[in-house]
């Protein structure tokens, strides 16, 4: 029997056996380091390589490319969990396809080897393969067309800007704030050095979370936390991960502050503006009609807003975004840089 054909049968057999027989064992209710879906994928890949090596099947390049591409598809479709959105799936598969092409085209020999069965199928040298391909092709196109034109009613997707650029200034409770350089009045500096009880001297090297004696700082944090749990946690969650009890009815979902891509990347002045102005204060690029967050300036005082911001950073352990003084100062001494 043709070794490549044998390789195909063996590989498919191994893959199906592992998928249906072994995979459930790797998906226990409590995933562990060893028994999880990613470990299963490694087992699957190694098994396919091993069985081909042991039987010395050495399939042609076309078949190898099909295995590589198929494994990529299997990973993104079956292993990666939760399933990534369709747009990302397409992007990943496009990349994997490019990678597969780079693999087969790394030298003219491998590329010729890859092309050979395709050319032979088209020219009719591989008769059976040609019959199969030319019969399957219209069926596949037909199925694709059917799927494409079959009416479905998904909610539309939209390109929404999650972190829009803040305005230069914002007016809260009748006072105009310039956001560039605006500091949280309850924070000494962005590295969480803080005022020690009334001395107004920064205490360096201590993280307030670990320091029970930081009375004044913790007082503000606690006040901010109280405001948060009275007003914000219904949407943003009691762990600040955006999974509050109401979060699932919103699209987009409330911000997840634990994620390194949200408040960890932003200055406190940005949060001050966003919390104060809420959804209605967003620029059009952020589709303000898609945000349910109220303008909190109508419900909270300026001090309360700053304290909530302080709490959010304290609770998540993130530090507000800062920039080098040297760079942002416009070159001290007039020399620029």
């Amino acid at each position: 029997m043709n070794k490549t054909f044998l390789s195909l049968i063996v590989t498919l057999g191994v893959a199906l056996a592992l998928h249906f027989g072994v995979k459930p064992m790797f998906l226990p209710k409590e995933p562990t380091m060893i028994f999880n879906r990613y470990a299963f994928f490694i087992v699957l890949v190694l098994s396919i390589i091993a069985v081909n090596l042991i039987l010395r099947l050495s399939p042609v390049m076309t078949m190898k490319a099909a295995y590589v591409w198929g494994l990529g598809f299997y990973f993104y479709d079956q292993i990666l969990y939760p399933h990534v959105p369709w747009t990302l799936f397409i992007t990943y598969m496009m990349l994997w396809t490019i990678g597969t092409f780079l693999y087969i085209s790394q030298d003219s020999k491998t590329f010729a080897e890859f092309r050979e069965p395709i050319v032979k199928t088209i020219t009719g040298e591989f008769k059976i393969a040609r019959y199969i391909v030319f019969a399957a092709l219209p069926v596949l196109v037909g199925m694709g067309t059917y799927k494409f034109i079959y009416p479905t009613y998904p909610e539309p997707v939209e390109l929404r800007t999650v972190h829009p650029a803040p305005p230069a200034t914002t007016k809260v409770h009748g006072k105009t704030y310039t956001l560039e350089g605006l500091q949280n009045p309850y924070r000494v500096d962005e590295q969480d050095n803080y005022y020690e009880g009334g001395t107004h001297l920064p205490v360096e090297g201590k993280f307030p979370f670990l320091d029970a004696e930081s009375v004044e700082y913790m007082k503000y944090v606690t006040e901010g936390g109280t405001v948060f749990f009275q007003n914000c946690h219904y949407c943003h969650g009691d762990q600040l991960n955006g999974l509050g009890m109401f979060s699932h009815v919103f699209n987009p979902t409330p911000a997840n502050f634990v994620d390194p891509g949200t408040i960890a990347m932003l200055r406190e002045s940005f949060l001050f503006w966003r919390v104060s102005k809420g959804g209605p204060g967003l620029p059009n690029e952020s589709t303000p009609w898609s945000s349910a967050m109220p303008p909190w300036e109508e419900h909270l005082t300026t001090e309360q807003i700053w304290k909530v911001v302080l709490f959010e950073y304290w609770y998540t352990g993130w530090h507000p975004r800062t920039f080098d003084e040297e760079s942002s100062s416009g070159g001290e001494g007039g020399g620029g840089h």
Partner: protein
């Protein structure tokens, strides 16, 4: 023969060592350098203060009839204490532009016309700035190889001259496009241009004079080629002219850059847009240096791409093996230079973005997280294509070298690393998804791939991609060499250790970044870049040192470049053209509704941001249009060559064997 060839390579390790030393010393001397900088800044501040006092005294001492000098605060520059720097008001305030300050044609918006005129000029400007850099390098290599390999030396020299010939046509073309751009500004945006001309008046005149100097040196350089070719001393003078040509070209580019960087991040003016008397402040605004460095590197890659595509086209259409061999070799030289520029290019981009963020957080967020963020995703795709194209070319080129079978087995792993890294590199932080998908995911961020959306992952990915490309390049260098030095095993171990250590360090720093505040995380990119550059310098130095007395498996068989490699060059060239247009558009469009950020408002009907699709159409048009022009320019450049063919003996006339080529 092999050993003589190797002799010339001895200088290379030394040069690489020097480069590494300079690179390392720079880091070690950071404190000294910063101390010097502080001193210079202090001196500058004192000077500014003295100037201020003198001017005030002068103003007081003058008669009552004389108008007093008005002083105002700079929008960007600060003095030693962090207060805005003051300067004497020396210009008119930025005008409030009205309908009379804008003109338009019916067939297209003025902004689009200006964009096209600007982009076409920039494309050609990049090309004519890049080609002299090429010629300088190639001519220099030709001079250095004259004694060891006269035939190769002549080939280098001929190539440099041929490129210069094309550049000559492109040069006048660039000037014509510059004229078109100038007229577009004056006719369609007269109010804006009047303001800019008022501030940059002396710079514009110097720019024009520098063009004169550039033209003069260019003509002497090109037309003096044959005369200065044979005498060694004159040849060095000729090569020095190329250095001068590049220096003038760089100054020209920097002067023109100052207009764009001033528009984006102005300095040297007050809030009303009035010039404060110091022209250096206006030129040297905060983005001037990063934009300049980024453009120089970009020009090199762009030039390499165009020359590579030109050679690739001739390679595909070549009829004789000699022609094929020649153009295969030209492809190699062009790609070598392009990849050389491509490796540090992302780092220059990081520097530029860091400065943009530092100038205005608002601008940084608009670019990376706001309305321009999706264009940055497209940019990520294009950069990935560049790296794929470069690596595909290296793999295919390596495959045709005898002895490369020893290393070809690593190619698939390198491809895997590239793809995995690129997957992380282009995973967006905000994913386009339906509400049903969002619910399935359980939140806006994916619990696994969501971690790839931040800079820690992206920095790590791009550094690993570059390190992989460097590794591939080293394998290519040694593909046909049988290493015979006694310390071959130790050398290989060192190389392995450097690359494995670098990969571990880059990954470690990337993961560590997730546990640090954002500002410190940004700082981690410096050791990551240092690690990557160390693999380049140290790896290449060790690799080349090992070639001493090496045996050859055979010379590279020029003329056997695979079709995939040839098409990879086209991919590189076209991707880079499109990418240049895209990044130029992003950099310019981030000003949104300002001509000059926060100073001169764009009150034209075109002060809107294009949709991604519309911007894409214009970018594609620009890329196609410039390539049509390049084809014409190359065709014009080849007309001289065709004459030679025509003057050959007509068919049917017997030609003595000695006279046949």
């Amino acid at each position: 023969m092999v050993s003589t060839k190797m002799n010339k390579l001895r200088a290379l390790p030394f040069a690489m060592f020097l480069a590494l030393a300079a690179f390392a010393v720079n880091g070690l001397m950071a404190d000294v350098a910063s101390a010097k900088e502080v001193f210079a800044e202090q001196a500058f501040a004192e000077q500014a203060f003295a100037k201020e006092v003198l001017a005030e005294e002068g103003a007081e001492g003058e008669g009552e009839g004389e108008p007093a000098i008005e002083w105002s605060q700079d929008v960007f520059y600060k003095d030693w204490e962090g207060n805005p720097l003051k300067g004497p008001v020396s210009g008119a305030p930025a005008p409030d532009l009205g309908p009379n300050d804008y003109n338009n044609y019916d067939f297209a918006p003025s902004r689009i016309l200006l964009w096209i005129a600007n982009q076409q000029h920039l494309y050609f400007g990049s090309f004519v700035l890049a080609v002299p850099i090429f010629c300088m390098l190639i001519e220099f290599i030709g001079i250095r190889t004259r004694e060891s390999d006269p035939v190769l030396s002549e080939k280098y020299d001929r190539l440099a001259q041929d490129l210069m010939k094309v550049s000559l046509t492109a040069y006048s073309w660039t000037a014509i496009l510059g004229g078109v751009l100038l007229f577009t500004f004056i006719t369609l945006f007269p109010g804006f241009f009047k303001y800019m001309a008022g501030i940059f008046r002396p710079v514009m005149h110097v720019y024009a004079l520098m063009f004169l100097a550039e033209s003069g040196v260019l003509y002497v350089y090109y037309y003096g080629w044959e005369k200065m070719k044979h005498d060694p001393f004159l040849k060095w003078i000729h090569c020095s002219l190329s250095v001068l040509l590049n220096l003038i070209g760089t100054v020209l580019m920097y002067l023109a850059n100052s207009w764009a960087t001033f528009m984006q991040a102005p300095g040297g003016i007050d809030e009303q847009g009035r010039f404060l008397g110091n022209i250096w402040h206006v030129i040297h605004s905060t983005l001037w240096n990063p934009v300049g460095v980024h453009r120089i590197l970009g020009n090199i890659v762009f030039g390499g791409g165009i020359v590579g595509a030109y050679a690739a086209y001739h390679y595909l259409t070549a009829k004789t093996p000699e022609e094929k061999a020649h153009y295969d070799w030209v492809c190699y030289i062009a790609m070598f230079i392009a990849i050389f520029g491509l490796i540090p290019l992302p780092f220059a981009g990081y520097w530029l973005m860091k400065e943009v963020y530092a100038f205005r957080q608002q601008m940084g967020i608009t670019l990376m997280g706001g309305i321009m963020a999706w264009l940055f995703i497209i940019q990520a795709v294009m950069i990935g294509l560049l790296f794929f194209g470069a690596n595909s070319y290296l793999h295919n080129s390596m495959a045709r070298v005898r002895g490369s079978h020893r290393y070809m087995k690593y190619c698939k792993y390198m491809v895997l690393v590239l793809i995995v890294c690129f997957t992380a590199w282009m995973t967006p932080h905000t994913i386009v998804m339906t509400p049903a998908e969002l619910k399935e995911m359980g939140g806006a961020q994916h619990p696994v791939v969501g971690h790839f959306g931040v800079m820690s992952a992206k920095n790590t990915a791009v550094n690993l991609m570059i390190t992989t490309t460097i590794f591939c390049f080293l394998l290519y260098q040694r593909a046909n060499k049988k290493i015979t030095v006694k310390w071959a095993t130790i050398g290989n171990c060192w190389l392995g250790a450097i690359f494995v250590g670098a990969a571990c360090n880059i990954v470690y720093l990337g993961v560590y970044g997730y546990f640090l505040p954002a500002n410190q995380r940004v700082g981690l990119s410096v050791p990551q870049v240092t690690t990557t550059l160390t693999t380049l310098f140290a790896g290449t130095a060790i690799n080349i040192s090992m070639f001493k007395d090496s045996e050859s498996y055979g010379d590279i068989e020029w003329g056997t470049q695979s079709r995939v490699a040839t098409y990879a060059i086209f991919l590189l060239a076209i991707s880079f053209t499109w990418l240049m247009g895209l990044m130029g558009y992003i950099r310019s469009a981030v000003r949104l509704f300002w001509h000059v950020t926060e100073v001169l408002r764009d009150n034209s009907p075109d002060a809107y941001t294009l949709t991604i699709g519309e911007a894409g159409k214009i970018l594609t048009f620009n890329a196609l249009f410039v390539w049509v022009q390049f084809v014409i320019v190359f065709w014009v450049g080849s007309l001289t060559g065709k004459k030679k063919v025509e003057s050959a003996a007509p068919q049917g006339v017997p030609v003595p064997a000695q006279q046949q080529q």
